[in-house]
């Protein structure tokens, strides 16, 4: 098949769709021919036209992250057709809840030690953990409709632990400097 892509071969999307990969193909920068499974998953779950529409609504500098997140979700859904990424979210939420409880208990212990054992002034322990619960923005309005909750509501309860398919390519420079505890879904 003749190709006009910059790689001198059709991108994975055009190869999958069996069409000519034209210059300016919207998929070509994000679906290299050496990663055929990436587009296969995205096509299976979202469909090519939906992905095209999604990408066209974004600025060019946002598209790479969008494609990577779509590929991540698609692979998660292929591996777990019932829960997809939500399985991982549920797992992480439980971990955060567990740690929150441990932190609260540790803070209570700290206060007890500080008040009972040391009469002199000490650095004031945090009375409330600064780990904030997820903002409502991240939960759809009727998300709780069918989901039973234990504690902070709206969490999924998948039957098993869900392994994350792969680490995020945009997490390589992540740091622990973000202390606001949430409020933004993006980076």
């Amino acid at each position: 098949m003749a190709s006009s892509s910059s790689y001198n071969s059709p991108c994975a999307a055009c190869k999958f769709l069996r069409r000519k990969c034209m210059p300016g193909c919207i998929f070509a920068p994000y679906f290299p021919p050496e990663e055929p499974q990436k587009f296969a998953n995205v096509h299976k779950i979202f469909g090519a036209s939906n992905v095209t529409k999604l990408l066209n609504e974004l600025l060019p500098h946002q598209r790479e992250d969008a494609v990577n997140s779509l590929a991540y979700e698609a692979e998660a859904r292929v591996r777990d057709p019932v829960y997809g990424c939500v399985g991982a979210i549920s797992f992480l939420q439980r971990q955060v809840q567990r740690l929150q409880k441990e932190l609260d208990a540790a803070n209570a212990d700290l206060i007890r030690y500080a008040c009972n054992d040391i009469p002199t002034a000490l650095p004031a322990p945090p009375g409330v953990s600064s780990v904030q619960p997820l903002t409502p923005r991240h939960r759809p309005a009727d998300f709780n409709r069918r989901i039973g909750s234990e504690g902070a509501g709206g969490f999924y309860h998948p039957t098993g632990a869900f392994p994350l398919p792969y680490s995020f390519p945009w997490n390589d420079n992540s740091s622990g400097d973000i202390n606001d505890g949430g409020g933004e879904g993006g980076m």
Binding site: E73, V82, Q95, D117, T120, A161, F168
Partner: protein, 151 residues
């Protein structure tokens, strides 16, 4: 049979058959639910996904698809993956805070066992000890490997 259509068939402007794959999960009283799903996945993809599943799992699948679709509508770049990233950061912050608090407790315990050590003189040691604990906590790496605590 217009009055008995599920929200999916109403949106698609078609007849709602008795064995409609959508109707148990997209009731007519919640039209927005299907709108989000259709916008992100498309009707035929969702139908295929649901048909591949045993009946008793389809409700959960429809709910999780709706959740992911809503996340993507709210955040077109990262969707629900942004939420995963946020949770990983929260987990990391909580671990750091826990390590810091446990370090403070350890210092106080140590001072309680050795009361002759004055608090004022102990402050530099306390700060050094704290810093060491914080450095250890900073070594915890959740997001890069994606494997800490995950099966």
């Amino acid at each position: 049979m217009n009055s008995g259509r599920c929200s999916a068939c109403r949106y698609l402007r078609r007849r709602c058959p008795p064995d409609c794959i959508f109707s148990p999960y997209f009731p007519s009283n919640n039209p927005q639910r299907f709108v989000s799903i259709h916008r992100i996945y498309g009707a035929s993809n969702v139908a295929k996904l649901l048909q591949q599943l045993p009946t008793h799992l389809r409700a959960e699948a429809a709910d999780s698809l709706y959740f992911e679709a809503q996340c993507r509508v709210e955040d077109p770049v990262y969707g629900c993956v942004g939420l995963i990233f946020l949770l990983q950061q929260q987990l990391h912050n909580a671990e750091s805070q826990l390590a810091k608090t446990q370090a403070e407790i350890a210092v106080l315990k140590s001072q309680a066992q050795h009361p002759q050590t004055q608090q004022v003189e102990a402050e530099p040691e306390f700060n050094n000890f704290l810093q060491q604990q914080l450095d250890n906590a900073a070594d915890l790496n959740f997001s890069n490997q994606g494997s800490s605590g995950f099966m």
